[in-house]
């Protein structure tokens, strides 16, 4: 076993985040109860340092740790999404967790641990390191889900999530072990090489692929593995809902793209149809069930399920266009979903929870700014130009049409129209009804900064998508 300093240098961002989180644990022990905000600001600093490190180390492709871990444009792009979403989530939390009365230092530290798990996932080119990263991310988020310790719904959500999550991890591991049994390796490129040689399709491999789809499908809440999402999204603290609807989803897609379009590319005929069916069912279920929701967090959970369906279509399309369109979609989704949850957090003050859709009636008459933010993010989620959400869907549909899946693109557009209804319904309530109650905003500098970043991102990508698309295209892995 040789020691190579290159390993340490190229995994520096991960080391910085983990070491920083460990130091913050110790710092948290000596801080007084009303000083926990310091941990939040320090974790922002750690994220910025790690982000700078990732940008400096960004390179064509360096494989380290015995070809388990890679630093390339693809992982750099996804790590930027994780930094962005964690940064925004921490900014939104600083004030929010005070209001919820759960201001503990562990909150930020667990977010850092979750982020480092996602970073490992994005950089992994071996099924085992993927699994380790995935568990680090998932375990931290299980705890964060139940962070409102005296709230029954939060506890229930955490309990459901941990049990179902453990079950899905088991299924994923079973799939990994089957792949290992059939190919004798867990390294993604090696798996692809061996599958190419084998030629004919083993029935065991089909089983392995189904297990892998089930395991990863759970993490991105694809139907039929989506049942946890509404309860968990509703029960978790809103800032954590924002965080887990963006970060882990992007991380899981980073892994899904690598596993399916790199390792399992030689047998793509066996899984393309399955993923296509899954994505259509996911879009349909998410969009249609969201129509009848009255709680905005539940509605956004179903909307998030539907968005996972659109992103899966990029996997069906495959190739450079497909990968780049999913990467761009995840970046856009990070901005707009953080934004909409940020606005919900902005309205949460005192006893007012701002969780019922009816609560937003007439917001525009009372507070133009908050109403306008809701308008932009809801339009973006619905995919209406000139917002970024339109661009994200547009490139996914384009890549589908280019590869010949025209009927899938048509179905996706129809689902997109259905989903527009429940987003626009909120806009209608905000703008066209008389207010029934007073609104009091929980303003703070951190909140405002997060919302400004989110709204700028949503609009800039919507107006100038070419630069971001080029960035994603130049960062794809050789699939």
């Amino acid at each position: 076993m040789n020691f190579n300093i290159v390993n340490v240098i190229f995994s520096m961002p991960e080391i910085i985040v983990l070491a920083g989180a460990c130091l913050l644990i110790l710092l948290d022990l000596v801080l007084y109860k009303n000083q926990k905000g310091i941990i939040g600001y320090l974790s922002l600093l750690i994220i910025l340092i790690a982000g700078a490190g990732t940008l400096i180390l960004s390179s064509p492709s360096v494989e380290i740790f015995d070809r388990m871990f890679v630093v390339d444009g693809y992982s750099t792009f996804f790590k930027m999404i994780f930094y962005l979403s964690t940064f925004l989530a921490v900014l939104l939390s600083i004030n929010y967790i005070k209001i919820e009365g759960v201001e503990y230092g562990e909150y930020y530290i667990l977010m850092l641990f979750a982020m480092s798990g996602m970073m490992v996932m994005a950089s992994s080119i071996d099924l085992l390191s993927i699994y380790v990263g995935l568990e680090l991310m998932a375990l931290s988020i299980y705890i964060l889900t139940g962070f409102k310790q005296y709230n029954g719904r939060s506890n229930e959500a955490a309990m459901k999530y941990v049990i179902l999550g453990a079950f899905s991890s088991g299924i994923l591991l079973y799939g990994i072990s089957l792949v290992y049994g059939l190919t004798g390796t867990t390294q993604l490129a090696d798996i692809a090489g061996i599958l190419k040689q084998q030629g004919n399709l083993d029935i065991g491999l089909v089983l392995a692929i189904i297990f892998l789809i089930a395991g990863f499908g759970f993490k991105v809440a694809a139907v039929p593995f989506h049942m946890w999402a509404p309860d968990v999204y509703e029960g978790a603290p809103t800032s954590i809902t924002a965080f887990m609807s963006v970060g882990p989803k992007a991380a899981s897609f980073a892994v899904i793209l690598r596993v399916f379009l790199e390792a399992l590319q030689p047998v793509s005929a066996s899984w393309t149809t399955l993923i296509a069916i899954l994505s259509v069912v996911t879009m349909a279920t998410g969009s249609i069930i969201a129509l009848s929701q009255t709680n905005i967090k539940r509605m956004l959970a179903y909307s998030s399920i539907a968005h996972a369906g659109y992103a899966l279509l990029g996997l069906v399309a495959g190739g450079a266009d497909g990968i780049a369109s999913v990467m761009l979609y995840m970046l856009i989704y990070a901005f707009m979903n953080m934004g909409i949850f940020g606005t919900i957090i902005l309205l949460r003050k005192g006893d007012f929870k701002a969780e019922d859709i009816e609560d937003y009636t007439g917001l525009a008459k009372v507070n133009r700014g908050a109403a306008f933010l809701m308008l932009i993010f809801l339009f973006s989620l619905a995919g209406i130009p000139p917002t970024a959400g339109f661009i994200g869907k547009f490139y996914i549909f384009m890549s589908l049409i280019k590869t010949g899946y025209v009927s899938l693109a048509i179905i996706a557009v129809i689902m997109s129209v259905i989903s527009a209804y429940f987003y626009i319904r909120i806009v209608m309530l905000i703008y066209m009804k008389e207010p029934v109650r007073e609104f009091d905003l929980a303003r703070s500098p951190a909140n405002s900064l997060a919302l400004i970043i989110a709204v700028i991102g949503t609009i800039i990508i919507g107006i100038l998508p070419a630069w971001f698309l080029e960035m994603a295209k130049s960062a794809i892995f050789p699939g």
């Binding site: 076993m1 020691f3 460990c22 644990i25 110790l26 022990l29």
Partner: protein, 119 residues
Amino acid sequence: MLLTYLPVLIISGFVIFIATFVFIINSIVSPKKPSSEKLSPWECGMEPIGEASSGHFKIHFFIIAILFIVFDVETLFLFPWAVVLRDIGMVAFVEMFIFIAILAVGLIYAWKKGALEWV
């Protein structure tokens, strides 16, 4: 090819047979004299107080168990490390100390939070 796994199949069949056989024999020949002492749930040798299902039981058992696992895993890594330390050299020596330092952070955290006090 498959035939080489035949001994495994025979062993599994044998094990299943033995296990069921022992259970059946046991349930047929054993004397049954239930008393309230025998039927009470076993709780670490203590007299059970109240209903365990009502949620009022000591969380400390679990905290101690989790802390035990942390150090159990540490020893698990330390033994093979100590055996081959001469071959793997200085780097592994430093690496193990980093590993122990990370575990120490966990211990300090638990200690400061009062996980080691029996209240």
